[in-house]
């Protein structure tokens, strides 16, 4: 689980770009099958409603999904953006 505080702490200027990077990571991960079905369904729901990339819930879902399918890839992305606290929460 990622805390609401940690999600809100992501600077507004990078949220869209970060979300898109996470989407690509999920779509290209070799271990995509590790995304739990319940999360996959919620992801599709938010995507169809246009809320995946913009909402706190969407970002949280993308972070948790990325941690499930490609933790190393996620670590690299969070390092790039200098999101240390978030990295600690998502990846432990």
């Amino acid at each position: 689980m990622v805390s609401e505080e940690a999600i809100r702490g992501i600077p507004g200027g990078i949220r869209g770009e970060l979300a898109t990077r996470l989407v690509d990571l999920l779509l290209e991960a070799k271990e995509g099958v590790k995304l739990p079905s319940s999360k996959a369904k919620r992801l599709l729901q938010l995507w169809s409603l246009g809320e995946l990339l913009e909402s706190d819930e969407g970002l949280e879902l993308l972070l948790e999904g990325a941690a499930a399918v490609d933790p190393e890839g996620l670590r690299g992305i969070l390092d790039e953006y200098g999101l240390e606290r978030l990295k600690g929460e998502v990846l432990g």
Binding site: L27, G32, L44
Partner: protein, 331 residues
Amino acid sequence: MRFGIEFVPMDLYWRTVFYTIQAEKLGYDHVWITDHFNNRNVYVTLTLIANYTERIKLGPGVTNPYLVHPVMTAQAVASLNEIAPGRVVCGIGAGDRTTLEMVGLEMKTPLRAVREAVEIIRRMVAREKGGYEGRVFRTTGGARFNFKVQQPIPIYIGAQGPKMLRLAGSLGDGVLINASHPDDIAEAMKHVREGVERAGRSLSDVDVAAYTSLSVAEKEKKARKAAIPVVAFIVAGSPPQILERHGIPVEAAEGIKRALAERRWADAFGAVTDEMIEAFSICGTPETCIEKIEALSRMGVTQFVAGSPIGPKVRGSIDLFGREVIPHFKD
């Protein structure tokens, strides 16, 4: 011009649905899901797509009457139509001989099988009374749905050879032509027109879809690189007359076929030439794609189907095509 997109459900179901939602947002009109027993089930995939989309038309592209009896195809599309009223289409063709042989099925009298299948699907959807007495398929008067289908379900016939193209022209609400090059489309259109004329119909009654192999990217080189594996398989499966039409030596195609069969991927893909890419794909930058699609449109194509690989990165290429190519034809 309408725009469709094809997905092979080899990938995880949620990715196919994700890409389809993206395509819908960008103005694509149709999504076609291939039907092969060795991939994920076409109707499970379509049901999920129906659930998460509102506008895009959807259907199998294409199923075949050998593996799936036409009453079952009719049942599947009619049921899907309840979830996505008025959005369901049904693509049907003779299937792939090699795949059918894997499960001990012989592709007998393909023209007749497809014709009868189309007739049965239409009868079932319309809940017509009385049985059907075909040479390949028979149903009794009791073979009727216990439910009504509220919307018509257009049937598209997947065709490549002259006879199937004529059948599609005479019988189909649409035809799915498996080709990307204007010369192949021009040849196909001759036969579709013949079929249309023989049946006393008008060409405008038929949605003529070019079921292409698309690879679009910002850089030509990247688009070409992504097209190579798919083109290798198309070349390997193309009949000699098609290869000759494009000046591709049959021996070169045979070499690629052998390499693919022996899983020597580097040899197979390394043997794909620019001429092969040109002949069997719509490949390049958005500007190049626009030019090529305009050429197809002039031939009478009314739906452009973006088939595999779509591009180096599927999401990026769906986006690029949707932002830079589709508006050119819609605005």
